[in-house]
C-alpha cells in the first residue's frame, strides 16, 4: 500500500509506521509490530538523509540521549547526500513530547542502522549497532522482542561486513542467555542462528554443533529464522558425515525459503546437490535448471555429470576448473570426498556391462593413476564387493573380475521396502497438512445475523405466536 507514494511522503510513511508501533505496544499485539517492520522494509530504499533527520527530530524528545547519539550518524550522510527535494525542509518540526516509548526509541535506532547499512557506511553502522545493543540491554520489555531481534541481526551483519565477527561472539552468547531467561523466544531463535552463522563463518563446526545440541529450541516464531536454522543444521551434518539428515534439512530449507531469497536458495541447492551425490543418488537435471539459478549452479551441474558417468579423469578436470568457486562455497573438502563415489559408480557401470573383465582393463577404464594400478584396482573391487556396491567375485590367479547373475528382484524384499518408505512419507505429509489447516478467516461472521435480519425474524416469531394464540381462542 505504501509502495507507490511519492518521495516526500516517505516522511508520512515513517510517521504512520511509528503510529503502528505505538498501537502495537498499547494493544500488546505482535502482529502489528511485524507489519510495521514489513512497511519499513518496503520503504527503506527511498530513505534519504534529511527525511531521517526530520523524523528523528520529530519523534524523539529534544535533548534525549538517543537523539544526541543518533543525529551525528545521520547528519554526516545528509551533507553527502543532499537532494533537491526542498519541501522536506518544511517538515522540521521539533517534538513536543517529554518522554517516549522505549519501542519508538529502539525503532529509531533500527531505522538509522538500516539507513547506514544501505549507504554502505559499515563502520558507522557498527558503532551505531553497538550503541543500540547497549541500550537494549538496559530494557526488558516483551513488546520489544520483534524490534530487538531485528537489531541483533543487523548488529551481526554490520560486524560481518567489516570482517570482525569474532569480536561479538561473547556478546551474542550473553544476549542469548538473557533472551532465554526472559523467555524471549523470537530473540532466542534469532541469536542462535546468528551464533551458528558466526561459528560456521570460521569453520568451527565442532563448536557450532556443541552449541546447537545443548540449546533448547521452542516452536519457531519466524519462518525466515526456521529456514536459516535448517540450512546451518544441514551444513553441520554434512561435515559430520551424516548425509541422510543433512539431505532432509537442506531440502526442507530450499523448499521453505521464500521465492525472493534467491541467494539463499542457490546456496541451499548447492549443498543439497553435493549431499545427494555423496549419498550415491544423482540429482535430476531440472534441479540445476531452475530460473535464476542456472549460472550459479553450473559448476555443480558439471560435477554431477562427471559423477554420473563415473569418469575419474573428467571429475578431476571439473574439480580443477571450478576450484575457486568451490573454495568460496566452502565445499572443497566435500568435493574431495566425492572421488570415492566416482570410482564406485564407474565400477558399478563396468560390472553391469561386462560379465568378465580383467583387472588391468578395470584399472585403465577407471583412469586409476598410481604406481600399482592393478593392485589398487583389485583392492578397490574387493572393498566394493564387501560393501555391497557390486555383485561379483574376483579370480586372483587369472586376474579378472566376474560378475554374478542378478536374480529376480521381485522375489526379494526390495518392493516391500520401497513401498514402506513411500507409505511412511505419504502418511507424514498427510499429518502435516492436517496440522497446517486453518479456518478461513471470516467464516464465523457469515453465520451471524445482521441486526435487520434479527428484527425480521423476531417480528415473524411474534406474528406466529399471535396466530397460535388466536387459533387457540377460536377453538374455545
Amino acid at each position: 500500500m505504501f509502495a507507490f507514494l511519492p518521495l516526500r511522503c516517505v516522511y508520512t510513511n515513517l510517521k504512520n509506521v511509528a503510529a503502528l508501533v505505538e498501537k502495537g505496544v498499547v494493544s500488546k499485539e505482535m502482529r502489528l509490530m511485524v507489519r510495521a517492520m514489513r512497511h519499513v522494509m518496503s520503504i527503506r530504499r527511498k530513505l534519504k538523509g534529511p527525511t531521517v533527520v526530520s523524523f528523528l527530530k520529530s519523534t524523539l524528545p529534544s535533548g534525549s540521549d538517543a537523539l544526541s547519539r543518533l543525529l551525528p550518524y545521520v547528519s554526516k550522510e545528509e551533507e553527502i547526500g543532499m537532494d533537491i527535494d526542498t519541501p522536506s525542509s518544511a517538515l522540521h518540526v521539533s517534538s513536543h513530547k517529554q518522554s517516549i516509548l522505549p519501542e519508538l526509541e529502539i525503532f529509531t535506532y533500527l531505522l538509522v542502522l538500516i539507513f547506514l547499512l544501505d549507504k554502505k557506511s559499515y563502520d558507522k553502522a557498527k558503532a551505531c549497532s553497538s550503541g543500540a545493543i547497549k541500550r537494549l540491554q538496559q530494557l526488558n520489555r516483551r513488546t520489544l522482542d520483534v524490534l530487538a531481534a531485528r537489531i541483533y541481526f543487523y548488529y551481526s551483519y554490520s560486524y560481518e561486513l567489516t570482517n570482525s565477527l569474532a569480536e561479538i561472539r561473547g556478546t551474542l552468547l550473553l544476549l542469548h542467555r538473557t533472551a532465554t531467561l526472559h523467555h524471549d523466544e523470537l530473540g532466542q531463535e534469532t541469536l542462535l542462528n546468528l551464533l551458528l552463522r558466526n561459528y560456521l563463518h570460521y569453520n568451527l563446526y565442532d563448536q557450532a554443533e556443541k552449541l546447537r545440541s545443548k540449546t533448547q529450541r521452542a516452536e519457531s516464531h519466524s519462518h525466515q529464522q526456521l529456514c536459516r536454522y535448517l540450512y546451518y543444521l544441514g551444513r553441520i551434518r554434512t561435515i559430520q558425515l551424516e548425509y541422510t539428515d543433512a539431505k532432509d534439512s537442506l531440502m526442507q530449507a530450499a523448499r521453505k525459503a521464500p521465492l525472493s531469497a534467491s541467494g539463499f536458495r542457490i546456496q541451499c541447492n548447492k549443498w543439497a546437490a553435493i549431499v545427494r551425490l555423496l549419498l550415491g543418488e544423482i540429482p535430476e537435471r531440472t534441479t540445476f535448471m531452475q530460473p535464476g539459478m542456472r549460472k550459479a549452479l553450473r559448476p555443480y551441474f558439471e560435477l554431477t555429470n562427471a559423477v554420473r558417468i563415473g569418469d575419474l579423469e573428467l571429475f578431476r578436470q571439473v574439480a580443477e576448473k571450478f576450484s575457486s568457486t568451490f573454495y568460496t562455497d566452502k565445499t572443497h573438502n566435500l568435493i574431495v570426498r566425492l572421488r570415492h563415489n566416482v570410482i564406485r559408480t564407474g565400477l558399478r557401470n563396468i560390472s553391469i556391462s561386462y560379465s568378465r573383465i580383467s583387472l588391468t582393463d578395470v584399472a585403465a577404464k577407471l583412469h586409476l593413476v598410481s604406481a600399482t594400478p592393478v593392485d589398487d584396482a583389485e583392492s578397490i573391487v574387493t572393498k566394493a564387493i564387501r560393501d555391497g556396491g557390486i555383485d561379483a567375485i574376483v579370480d586372483h590367479a587369472n586376474g579378472w573380475m566376474q560378475s554374478k547373475e542378478t536374480g529376480d528382484i521381485y522375489s526379494t524384499q526390495e518392493p516391500q521396502l520401497a513401498f514402506h518408505s513411500r507409505i511412511a512419507f505419504c502418511l507424514n505429509t498427510h499429518n502435516e497438512a492436517v496440522k497446517a489447516l486453518r479456518f478461513p478467516p471470516n467464516a464465523h461472521k457469515k453465520e451471524l445475523e445482521s441486526a435487520e435480519k434479527r428484527r425480521e425474524r423476531q417480528q415473524q416469531e411474534q406474528e406466529l405466536a399471535k396466530h397460535i394464540a388466536e387459533e387457540d381462542d377460536d377453538e374455545f
Partner: protein
Amino acid sequence: MEAKFADAEKLFDRLKSAFVAQDYETSITLLSQLKVKLTEFSGLPPLYRQTPTQVQELVLARSILEYAVILSVKTEDQESFERHFLQLKPYYTDTRQLISRSSEEYPILGLNLLRLLVQNRIAEFHTELELLPPEALDDVCLKHAIELEQSFMEGAYNRVLNARQAFPHETYLYFMDLLAKTVRDEIAGCSEKAFDFLTVADAKKILMFSSDQELLKYAAESALVPDTKELLIQCQRSRILRCFLPDEHPDWEIQKGILYFQKVKELAPCKEIPSLQMINQTLGYARELERIV
C-alpha cells in the same frame, strides 16, 4: 616475573636433554613440574593478559606442549596425546596474531589426523580438516594423512600399506603400525567375500605378511578353544590345517597350500518371511491412519 620465566626455561632445557637421552620417566616428571610453573604465567590462554614477557611465555608454553605431545607418542599413550593436543590447539588457532608459526605445527596436526583415522573417528577427522587453511594442504605431513584417509575410504589398502614405508616424520611410525593392523583386518574381510580361494603365496602378498608362519597365525587368531591351538601346532607339520574361527574369519581352510575362504555355502533364497518386521510395519500404518492429529 623474569625470575619465574628463567626458572621455567632452565627446567625446559633439562626436559629437552632427558628427552634426547630417551629417558622417558624423568621427562614425564619434569613435564608435570613445568605444567605447574606454566599456571603462574598470566599471558597464556585463557587469560591472554598483556604482560611484557607475553610473547616469550606463549612461545615457551607452546614448545613445552609440543614436547608433551611427542612424548606421549613415544610412550604410546593415546589419552595423554589427546589431552595435550587439545591444550595445544588454542596456541595454533588463537595466537596467530601474537606469535609466529611454529615449525612443528604441521607435523603435529598431521599426527592428530592420523590418530583420528586410526581410531576410526572419521567425522572428527573431517571436522579438523575443515579448520585447515588452504595453503596447509600442500604440506608434506598433512598431505600424507589426507591421502591416507582417501585411500582408506576408496579401498586401495595396498596404497595404505605402501605408505608405511614413506612416512614423513619418525613420530608417525607408531600410528602407522596401528593403522597397518586395522587395514589388514579390512583386507581380510574384503578378500573373503570377494575371492573363492587364494594360494598361500598370494594371500601372503595381499595381506602383507613376510612369512607363512605369520599368515597361519593370523588365520588362527580367533581360535577360542585352547586345545584346538595345540592341534594346530601339531598339524602344522602335516600341512593340513583346520581353523575354527567363530566370529571373524569363519571357515578359512588351508589345504595343500591353498587358502579356501568360506566354503561355497549357497544360502538358499530365504524362504522365511520376516514376519516381525511386517507386523510392526502394518501396525504402524494402522496407527497413523487412525491418528487424530
